[in-house]
């Protein structure tokens, strides 16, 4: 087999937290189940079972909103150590297929199967076998994508959820991506998508039609990268021993923000997102950072090292808010706000006194 052409598999466990809860308590099977923080504590949905998703509930949605959409849902607090145990069993199965496993979070991983194959098509059989083992041995449903790179494999695994297996063979990348909305491309968030829509671009195929120089002119370096990805090109390797340096969330605002209340609200949402990521990855952050971009694109980052590493949204928010207060020149308009957790390590288990 031509080793220039890679075979990359992406596996994503379906509604993972909710699925584990249903395995632990079979009475929950088929019910709308929401795992996450309590609505009165401004919690967010960490995972929603498929019956709950039918009501329009999505993960990262505020819990009170989710309960408006689906009032009969069963709400459960997350049990991260339990999810980690299930995750480990799944990852062990993946490691039997190849040592080249990059675990993105508790419920998601990339595999590079290239060296195991004599013909590319064999990757499909391996994917099918892995999916069956995860279902039979652990009891969890997984969606898989097989393609020639990480970008396309990840879009493929999302293509037929839950329980799907989507194969994008070498040379088929463009045809697969073009009809899809631009948001499937990694790095295109809601603000960029809106700006593209204003140019009449909603699908990947339409994005590819735009001259690269035009994209570069409008979006800078980001535009050039977008053009590459839209063509299904992604040279990023599968990285084993995935030593994550940081977890971050950032948001570009449709309109620059100038008032403290809006910024604090955004900071809280970003902090919740970072905490959720940390919890899903089974990690804690020793350092909390913020990123602040003003309307004129001046960008500042600030960080604070904590006495005890944390995966708690309140602690992350408190640190981020302190940094924002020290950094933001009120009322200078803010274009982008980000929160990050750095110096990652396993959670310490230290309980808090106050």
């Amino acid at each position: 087999m031509n080793k220039e052409t890679r075979a990359i598999l992406h596996l994503d466990l379906d509604a993972f937290f909710a699925a584990v809860e249903a395995l632990e308590n079979p009475a929950l099977a088929g019910l709308p189940v929401l795992v996450g923080g309590r609505p009165e504590e401004r919690g967010v949905v960490a995972a929603a079972s498929y019956p709950a998703r039918a009501f329009g509930v999505r993960s990262a949605m505020p819990m009170h909103r989710a309960l408006q959409l689906c009032p009969q849902a069963v709400v459960l607090p997350p049990r991260h150590s339990l999810y980690r145990d299930y995750s480990r069993r799944v990852m062990d199965i993946l490691h039997h297929a190849t040592p080249l496993v990059e675990q993105l979070s508790v419920d998601e991983a990339f595999l590079d199967l290239t060296d195991r194959l004599t013909a590319w098509e064999e990757a499909v059989g391996i994917a099918r076998a892995l999916q069956a083992r995860v279902r039979d041995e652990v009891g969890l449903s997984a969606s898989l994508g097989v393609a020639t790179n990480k970008l396309v494999a990840k879009v493929a695994s999302d293509h037929d959820k839950p329980g799907g297996l989507t194969v994008v063979r070498p040379g088929e990348e463009a045809a697969f991506l073009y009809p899809l909305p631009v948001r499937v491309i990694w790095g295109i968030g809601p603000v960029t998508a809106d700006r593209l829509a204003a140019l009449g671009v909603t699908t990947v195929g339409e994005l590819v039609q735009l001259p690269e120089a035009d994209l570069r002119g409008r979006f800078g370096q980001h535009g050039a990268e977008m053009a590459q990805r839209a063509r299904g090109i992604d040279p990023r390797p599968v990285v084993t021993e995935h030593e994550r340096k940081s977890v971050s969330q950032e948001r570009t605002f449709a309109r620059d923000l100038q008032d403290g209340e809006s910024l604090r609200r955004q900071l809280w949402r970003l902090s919740q997102g970072v905490a959720l990521h940390l919890q899903r990855a089974g990690l804690a952050a020793g350092t909390v950072g913020i990123k602040l971009r003003y309307g004129d694109f001046e960008t500042l980052t600030r960080q604070v090292t904590l006495d005890v590493p944390t995966d708690d949204e309140q602690v992350i928010y408190r640190a981020a808010l302190m940094l924002l207060r020290r950094t933001w020149q009120r009322p200078r308009p803010v274009r982008l706000l980000g929160v990050s957790g750095q110096n990652l390590c396993p959670p310490t288990g230290q309980l808090t006194l106050l």
Binding site: S81, V288, V304, T305, L306, D307, V308, V315, R318, A319, M322, C345, P346, T348, G349, Q350, L351, T352, L353, L354
Partner: protein, 377 residues
């Protein structure tokens, strides 16, 4: 300015004020030490705007004046001079300080003293007097429990509560709490509380090592600074504005198990556990095993690291109540046991997830609370 003093005195004075210098300030003058003549003495002063220290040394003043010189250069230079008389003369035009000692001569470029921020000096009477030794001990027993991360600025401070004839110091970093009460020679007329940056108190502890007379505490009329007056030294600190959490609510009033231990043996077991615990978030397990009528009780201290190994130490203990297993950050225990100051320590526990209280046996004025870690890990 033209002034002479002994190299030894100058060097000592600089070591006292030197720690208040801010080496990386946006204001260049804050990296400098102020030298000013004052009534037959030489005043040395440094500030980082949070903490300022003034110190007076004996000198022969021929001509009054003042200047500021870069602290690092000046301190290194003075420490390199022979232990003799140092003659200093300022060339005002260029703000250059000329030094002569023995057969050495040096010139240090300074910044005009006018640019140096004013460090307040105590005014009039009315300070609160406190025994230096008691204050120093209290600082060493409390300040380490303050937060070093600034995400909750209030917790980087130490609460100082003056009430009747007592001063209570309290600090908490969110995971532990330290509270010490010391007597005041004179009762205060009205109770009041201030929050002093822990860093400032640690400095005070450091520079008060030779202090024998009482230390006088004064709050500035604007109530945003506190002054500590020692013999020939004044330390000024900004106060932290805000409400300190009500620490009394945090101290558990009840307990299930009381274990009395030999402080030195407990500290040694903790230091041994640290060898392995430092690879595992400092988690150290305590297994309290009550004895019977015939045999004493035990406390088993153990730590495990997946990479380096494990250790177990068994200590004799006088135990009242039921057996319990609880895990603590061993660094917190070492911090406390190093300063507790009595031969025996009492550990009060309830469940594996409720706070542990430690008190010196025979000293009711010191209380330390540590929140445990999850046993699951």
């Amino acid at each position: 300015m033209k002034v002479s003093c002994l190299q030894e005195n100058l060097s000592k004075g600089l070591s006292i004020v030197g720690r208040a210098v801010s080496p990386r300030s946006t204001l260049p003058v804050l990296s400098n030490v102020l030298l000013a003549t004052e009534a037959g003495r030489l005043e040395l002063s440094a500030t980082n705007l949070e903490v300022g220290i003034n110190c007076w040394i004996g000198a022969k003043v021929e001509e009054d004046g003042a200047t500021t010189v870069p602290a690092r250069t000046f301190i290194d230079l003075v420490n390199a001079l022979p232990p003799e008389q140092v003659d200093m003369e300022l060339v005002v035009q260029t703000q250059t300080l000329n030094l002569r000692a023995g057969r050495s001569e040096a010139n240090v470029k300074g910044i005009d003293a006018q640019e140096f921020p004013l460090v307040p000096v105590p005014e009039g009477e009315g300070g609160i007097s406190i025994e230096a030794d008691a204050l120093r001990t209290a600082i060493s027993q409390v300040a380490f429990a303050a937060a070093t991360d600034e995400s909750r600025p209030i917790l980087t401070g130490v609460l100082a509560k003056f009430e009747e004839d007592q001063l209570t110091l309290a600090a908490a970093d969110g995971f532990r709490l330290s509270v010490r009460t010391i007597p005041l020679p004179q009762p205060v007329p009205d109770p009041f509380s201030i929050i002093i940056p822990a860093r400032a108190l640690v400095e005070l502890g450091r520079i008060s090592g030779e202090q024998e007379d009482p230390i006088i505490i004064t709050i500035t009329p604007t109530r945003n600074q506190v002054l500590f007056q020692l013999t020939d030294i004044v330390l000024v600190s900004q106060l932290i504005d805000g409400n300190f959490p009500d620490y009394r609510q945090i101290i558990p009033q009840d307990w299930m198990t009381r274990s009395v231990l030999d402080t030195a043996a407990f500290l040694k077991a903790c230091k041994t556990a640290l060898i392995f615990a430092r690879d595992a978030a400092h988690i150290t397990r305590m297994h309290v095993k009550p004895g019977s009528d015939l045999s004493p009780g035990h406390l088993v201290v153990s730590a495990t690291s997946a990479e380096t190994g494990d250790d177990v130490s068994e200590l004799d203990a006088n135990i009242e109540g039921e057996g319990v297993e609880i895990a603590f950050n061993v660094k917190y225990l070492i911090d406390l046991l190093s300063v507790i100051g009595t031969p025996q320590v009492a550990l009060y526990t309830t469940t594996s997830s409720s706070p542990g209280v430690l008190r010196p046996v025979g000293d009711v004025d010191y209380t330390h609370v540590i929140m445990p870690m999850h046993l699951g890990r």
